[in-house]
């Protein structure tokens, strides 16, 4: 994973929202996962500062929180770009050439998997099957889904997010 360290800049409002959610959930069995998911929704990622707040609030060791965060692919330690590009590398997409799509995007953006462009605009990641196999190969940019992709279309698509 890339380590483009951007200083943590959480607001009081964000912290208040997280604390409120923790207060609601802290007595539910197995509440750590839903809390981390909520925290990522609030902050966009889970920097060590946020993990520390959660550990303190739940009275569990930080190491336990960190262990869970790093286990699951969806929890991000680094901020993502304003436009999150996700290329499906599930089997159905792969046999239809999504590997080439992914390589071309790395080349066009100049970043690797899990990284973010220096201007914070695009981040790139591979994902496993979003279930739109009928449209293979597929990629998503935030909420937009692009199906039946060819390598030639990619720079045109990126330009749409100028």
């Amino acid at each position: 994973m890339a380590s483009n360290k951007i200083p943590f800049a959480g607001s009081k409002e964000q912290e208040a929202a997280l604390m409120q959610y923790i207060a609601e959930k802290k007595d539910d069995p197995g509440c750590l996962m839903p809390i981390l998911q909520k925290a990522q929704e609030i902050y966009g990622y889970l920097p060590i500062e946020v993990q520390t707040m959660i550990a303190d609030e739940l009275h569990i060791p930080l190491e336990k929180v960190y262990g869970v965060v790093t286990f699951y692919a969806q929890f991000a330690l680094n901020p993502k770009g304003r436009y999150k590009i996700s290329v499906c590398l599930g089997t159905a997409c792969y046999v239809k050439g999504s590997g080439d799509i992914f390589n071309k995007l790395q080349e066009l953006l100049g970043i690797g998997s899990g990284e973010c462009t220096p201007d914070g605009k695009f981040s790139l990641e591979a994902c496993r099957c979003i279930g739109a196999c009928g449209l293979a190969p597929v990629m998503t940019v935030n909420e937009d889904v692009y199906g039946r992709l060819t390598v030639d279309e990619l720079s045109g698509i990126l330009n749409k997010y100028a």
Partner: protein, 595 residues
């Protein structure tokens, strides 16, 4: 009363190709033509024929419009809905015959299917509980609570022969029986909706198209084993499914079909939703439960089995979505009805997600025992672009590749295992002559290396070593000795891994070694990739007879590897070629080929 119902598919496939905008435009056009009291637009779940999305069906005629575009909507509304004239040009061409439009159920794609688990998908509005109740929903729960004892429910499942649809095929009734036999102050019913196999999306379609069937079946399970709490563990990658489950749980609570004292029988059952966070291993039962507990989703040794010590150390059953979707029908129609479908040891139907190099990508549900040939050729419409079938991959990263020689084997749990694959959750990816089997094996190993949780050594290190050997072979550096070593390592990993992930991870390698050894040999001995996929083993060449010397390729080449004068045949300098293939794509005369 409406005179016409327009069903628009709101599954992930069709939504991805714009069905939500289509619904909006449709409603606007209907309003504009003053038809809002006569025509009702319904958002449904998946119809199965995802290749032709967005899909729209107009009832009562059951006219099937495929690949609908927003600009077609005004015409469909004014012609079909207002004047009653079918817009033939936009109708699914398989249904258009000389005698007029034939019924959808007579098309090749649908006529071989038998829908039990997908019964309501694409038919009802999944966000409206009354539509589910209108098709007999929650009747089975009522029957179970008022007319049957828990033992009778379990016996019914045992008699039906239903086996788990998540992959391993364990008899569902037996699982329930074990959990019931263990006394505890609290038991749990869990639903495995962490559909991790890439290329499988049947569970997602059930959740999106018929979420209440899962809730009803879980409540039935709760009654049978004596549990009052259920959890659905669903992939966060399925936002539509999550949203519809939330709505369904809310509605079921409002109608008193979940919660306290259901049907006034004193039976309490509640369901909570838990979202996964992108870990394939959490599809394994003990890992899934560990994840619900809020920990790293690592599997734990069995025994103790979850029926004794599962979630929060209490007796727990875990059933897959498709398994659950069969249960209310079994209760209502009886175990004999269910057992009348399928083969001797695999009863009922199975949903397959057809993907890859096949015409009709989408979801199909067929009786167990249907052959691969029927599924791929008759229902799937065969391989596009006149290419030759090479293999069908079933069971995802745990399964194997089935070659053409086994095309006529009836598909069921036991047959698939005997030919070196497995049912898995039902992903069926078709591959043609352009797919390299060594590359596919490497693809799956890359997946398992990535997804191995790291707890046990055989899986963590073994899969990595296996991947490295495959990588070496695709780069032309493998030896024949490597093939033997790989096989030995495969069996070692299978025998010594802790959970199902490691125990099945070598299957893609073993099955391709078994059926496509000649392709491995070609990579190792001849240093060639017969399918033309492995870049290190390819060379691009220009056919001097076909080259017109237009210079387009030379100008396209990013590494200036192509030389030649205008109007004279060009050549590619192999020492400079980076094998990107850009020249071949651009050549207008078909003069460049890869060998």
């Amino acid at each position: 009363m409406y005179r016409s119902h327009v069903l628009v598919c709101g599954g992930t496939g069709c939504t991805s190709s714009g069905s939500m905008q289509i619904m909006k435009t449709l409603q606007e056009e209907i309003d504009k033509n003053g038809l809002h009291d006569e025509v009702c637009v319904v958002q449904t779940g998946c119809h199965g024929l995802c290749a032709l999305g967005p899909i729209m069906i107009i009832y009562p005629e059951a006219t099937f419009y495929s690949m609908v575009k927003q600009e077609d909507i005004p015409e469909i509304v004014s012609e079909h809905l207002l004047k009653g004239r079918v817009v033939t040009r936009l109708v699914y061409n398989e249904t258009v015959t000389d005698e007029g439009i034939k019924s959808l159920s007579d098309t090749e794609f649908y006529k071989h299917q038998h829908r039990v688990a997908l019964r309501n998908c694409g038919v009802i509005d999944p966000e409206n509980i009354e539509e589910y109740i209108g098709t007999g929903g929650y009747e089975a729960l009522g029957k179970v609570l008022t007319e049957m004892t828990p033992d009778q429910v379990i016996q019914t499942l045992l008699d039906s022969g239903l086996r788990g649809r998540g992959g391993a095929g364990f008899p569902t009734g037996l699982k329930w029986k074990f959990a019931k036999a263990n006394d505890a102050d609290q038991k749990y019913v869990c639903c495995n909706a962490d559909e991790g196999d890439p290329g499988a999306f049947m569970d997602r379609s059930v959740l999106e198209g018929d979420p209440h069937v899962v809730l009803e079946a879980m409540a039935i399970a709760g009654y049978a084993i004596g549990a009052s709490q259920g959890y659905i563990y669903v992939r966060a990658e399925y936002p539509i499914a999550v949203a519809r489950l939330e709505i369904a749980i809310q509605q079921a609570k409002e109608y008193g079909l979940l919660g306290k004292d259901i049907f006034g029988t004193g039976f309490d059952f509640d369901i909570g939703l838990r979202l996964g966070a992108g870990a394939f291993v959490c599809g394994e039962e003990t890992a899934l439960m560990t994840s619900i507990e809020g920990k790293r989703g690592e599997p734990r040794p069995r025994p103790p089995f979850p029926a004794l010590k599962g979630l929060f150390q209490k007796p727990t059953i875990l059933n897959n979505v498709e398994t659950l979707a069969n249960i209310p029908q079994i209760i209502l129609n009886g175990p004999e009805w269910f057992a009348s479908m399928g083969t001797e040891k695999s009863k009922g139907t199975k949903v397959f997600a057809l993907g890859g190099k096949i015409h009709n990508t989408g979801l199909v549900e067929v009786p167990m025992g249907t052959t691969l040939r029927q599924v791929i050729e008759d229902i799937g419409g065969g391989i596009p672009n006149g290419k030759k079938f090479k293999a069908a991959q079933t069971g995802g990263p745990s399964g194997g590749c089935i070659p053409a020689e086994h095309f006529d084997v009836p598909i069921d749990y036991d047959n698939l295992i005997s030919i070196g694959s497995m049912m898995g959750s039902g992903g069926l990816i078709v591959m043609d002559e352009d797919n390299c089997m060594v590359d596919i094996a490497k693809f799956f190993l890359e997946f398992t290396v990535d997804e191995s949780c790291g707890k046990c050594t055989p899986c963590r290190i073994g899969t990595k070593r296996l991947y490295e050997m495959l990588d070496k072979i695709t780069k032309g550096k493998g030896t024949l000795e490597d093939l033997d070593k790989m096989e030995e390592l495969c069996y070692y990993i299978k025998e010594n891994s802790l959970c199902g992930l490691g125990q099945t991870a070598p299957n893609p390698v073993l099955s391709t070694l078994r059926y496509f050894r000649d392709e491995y040999i070609a990579h190792v001995v001849d240093k060639k990739c017969p399918a033309g996929v492995c870049k290190a083993l390819l060379s691009y060449v220009i056919d001097a007879d076909k080259c017109r010397g237009c210079t387009l390729c030379a100008r396209t080449c990013p590494n200036n590897a192509i030389e030649g004068k205008v109007k004279e045949p060009h050549i590619i300098r192999q020492d400079k070629c980076i094998k990107c293939g850009a020249c071949m794509e651009k050549c207008r005369f078909g003069a460049i080929s890869k060998k």
